[in-house]
């Protein structure tokens, strides 16, 4: 997205950190985004000006500058274009530009593709798994003065130990049938698929993505700073990701909940004797016994613990046709299982299934003749 000039003099907005080519454009931006009255849309010239306007004209007090970063929302600071910016913020911006700016912008370039390729491969430890701009959080001080090309030694030193581990991460007892595939691809620090990485990275960067139809986007949504514990955070102004902060999938978080954890099995032994592994020796009679026991146990469980299901529970027809060895899941009995349908006997009046559902279709190849 353009050249990366090391121009410290590029105008930037104190409220939201965005950069502009020209101070005039910066001022237009500030008037439209930060100094615009949300009630009458009048554009003021400064923050205090907006505050006074709202108070006098609309009798409403505002406490923060619209569309601003959380630490830059003070309405009383008088900023106009580049004028009025406190010197420490200027310095901080300079530092961020040369340190963070080079890093995050140069995602577009090939050299940084190496940085990104390395962390993306085989990284399990929480130490900076993200794109280059994130890993710089771990190497703080030298960053600002070291041009990107010099990062590689650092990166490699960090990465190597992890890649050494990778080949050892085999399943215990597993004989690799196809050894070539069982070792994770480990070509550290090289852009493994340079053409592909280029393609990925030179795609429109996130801040100016194809959906330019979103006029309300305020700050950039930066990747999480994964220094210690990976978090899902959006550090842009005015945006918040609706997700628990931990960078773990929603399913994993949910599965930890007591409600979904494996329950201690009931005392009835019979439900336990249908283990999850295939038991070829199970005879038909045993299976039938299991199933009726399972139904009985499940009924008890159901009464004790479960909510009333939507459909009425059905006792399975007996004896059960067992073509192949089966394992019976203990919970089968309490489910709203519909009995098998009879292809031969067409629907007759009164032949309703439990629950009042009219059987209309059948599974292909079904020959079960029994109704409950």
């Amino acid at each position: 997205m353009g050249r990366k000039k090391k121009k410290a003099s590029k105008p930037w907005c104190w409220y939201c950190n965005r950069e502009f080519d020209d101070e005039k454009i910066l001022i237009q931006h500030q008037k439209a985004k930060h100094f615009k009255c949300h009630i009458c849309h009048k554009k003021l010239y400064t923050g205090p000006g907006l505050s006074i306007h709202c108070m006098q004209v609309h009798k409403e007090a505002i406490d923060k500058v619209p569309n601003s970063l959380p630490n830059r929302s003070n309405i009383e600071v008088e900023i106009y274009g580049m004028e009025g910016i406190p010197p420490e913020d200027v310095k901080e911006h300079e530092k961020q530009k040369t340190g963070g700016g080079k890093g995050s912008d140069s995602e577009d370039d090939e050299p940084a593709a190496k940085k990104k390729a390395t962390p993306a491969l085989g990284k399990v430890k929480p130490l900076g798994p993200g794109p280059s701009s994130v890993t710089q959080g771990i190497l703080p001080t030298p960053m600002g003065h070291v041009p990107p090309g010099m990062y590689h030694p650092h990166m490699q030193m960090n990465m190597m130990p992890h890649f050494m581990q990778a080949p050892r991460m085999m399943m215990p007892g597993m004989r690799p049938l196809f050894p070539a595939v069982s070792v994770p691809v480990s070509t550290p620090s090289k852009p493994t698929f340079p053409a592909y990485s280029n393609a990925t990275i030179s795609a429109p960067p996130t801040t100016s993505s194809a959906s330019g139809s979103d006029p309300k986007e305020n700050g950039e949504v930066k990747p999480p700073a994964a220094n210690s514990c990976p978090l899902v955070t959006a550090t842009g102004a005015g945006s918040k990701i609706i997700h628990p902060p931990e960078d773990v999938s929603l399913e994993e978080i949910r599965a930890r909940n007591i409600k979904y954890r494996p329950k201690p099995k009931p005392e009835l032994q019979m439900t336990q004797t249908a283990p999850t592994m295939i038991t070829p020796s199970t005879s038909q009679a045993e299976v039938a016994a299991h199933m009726s026991a399972a139904v009985a146990a499940a009924r008890q469980q159901q009464a004790a613990a479960m909510r009333r299901p939507m459909m009425q529970p059905v006792v399975l027809p007996q004896p059960v046709r067992v073509g192949v060895p089966v394992s019976v899941p203990p919970v089968m009995g309490m489910l709203p299982v519909m009995p098998q349908f009879n292809l031969m006997r067409p629907l007759q009046p009164g032949m309703l299934l439990p629950g009042g559902v009219m059987p209309v279709g059948v599974f292909p190849g079904v020959v079960m003749p029994r109704y409950r």
Binding site: L121, P129, A199, T200, G238, S239, I241, I242, V360, M368
Partner: protein
Amino acid sequence: MFNQLGGGSSNPNKDVEVASPPEDTVSAMEFSPPSVPQTFLVAGSWDCRVRCWEVEASGKTVPKAAQGMDGPILDVAWHDDGSKVFMASTDKSVKCWDLAANQTIQVAAHDAPINTCHWIKAPNYTCLMTASWDKTLKFWDTRSSVPIMTMNLNERCYCADVDYPMAVVGTADRGICLYTLEGKPAEFKRVESPLKYQHRCIAIFRDKKTKQPTGFALGSVEGRVAIQYVNPTNPKDNFTFKCHRSAGTTGGYQDIYAVNDIAFHPTHGTLATVGSDGSFSFWDKDARTKLKSSELLDQPLTKCAFNHNGQIFAYAVGYDWSKGHEHYNPNKKNFIFLRPCYDDLKPRST
């Protein structure tokens, strides 16, 4: 009698409501393959059960059967001949449900909950592919309790898709790995993620002309989808777009929601996304435009699916844990809705 056509906050899009929905959030949902003349829908849920309905042409849905596992269901997959359904659960196993006999049998096992299961039908073999939070990808001949192949993943599997001869797995730590299934499954290449946030869902798409799998769409928790070609002719073919975000109000926050599922229309090649924000959207990735946005529901949408001929779009509504356990209400009803979609998903002529 069963279906509730009408509006209201629980069905603002006035779609057909599936009868007897699961009692907890739907985690997986698939329509039957073309080998079956009727249309069946199976849905797995956090209530540890997989349910099956027949969907009639009139839109009526008839509950047919259900099976359970020892833990919440995380994925379901149909056998290509439509006679069996595979169910993957947090109980670390995959069971095969023979629909005709209404029996289940275990066919796979891992050391941790199994996040995805897909049936692979190749010209010279068939097998079941399972990926788990135990960081392995396994391939199973369902007659044996030993996998025919095991591959390591860098991290826990978070999403996967199969479209012969291509398979793709998205993992924690924003990893992506492509596999070729021709001859036998083999790792093809690892790909750098085009997204900066946690991977949530992935779907393979085909080339319009050759009808061969040629890329994938990847959704993240940050309201964004990336369209990636495996071999882009032009680097600019790959792009990302934002979605499932609340319109930012002046001075207020813009809420960014996770993309929970992506599905491609089987004939048009356009795609649907469903999000935590409670809406679904249709997109044309070639014209790079949005085709339609639904009305917002009061709960997140967790899964979506197209039937094999692209006439029906199904979406599941239920809490996805995006706001933590505090916002979980076990008494809130879960839904699955169906709508005719063939016209809505027609590509926009560029």
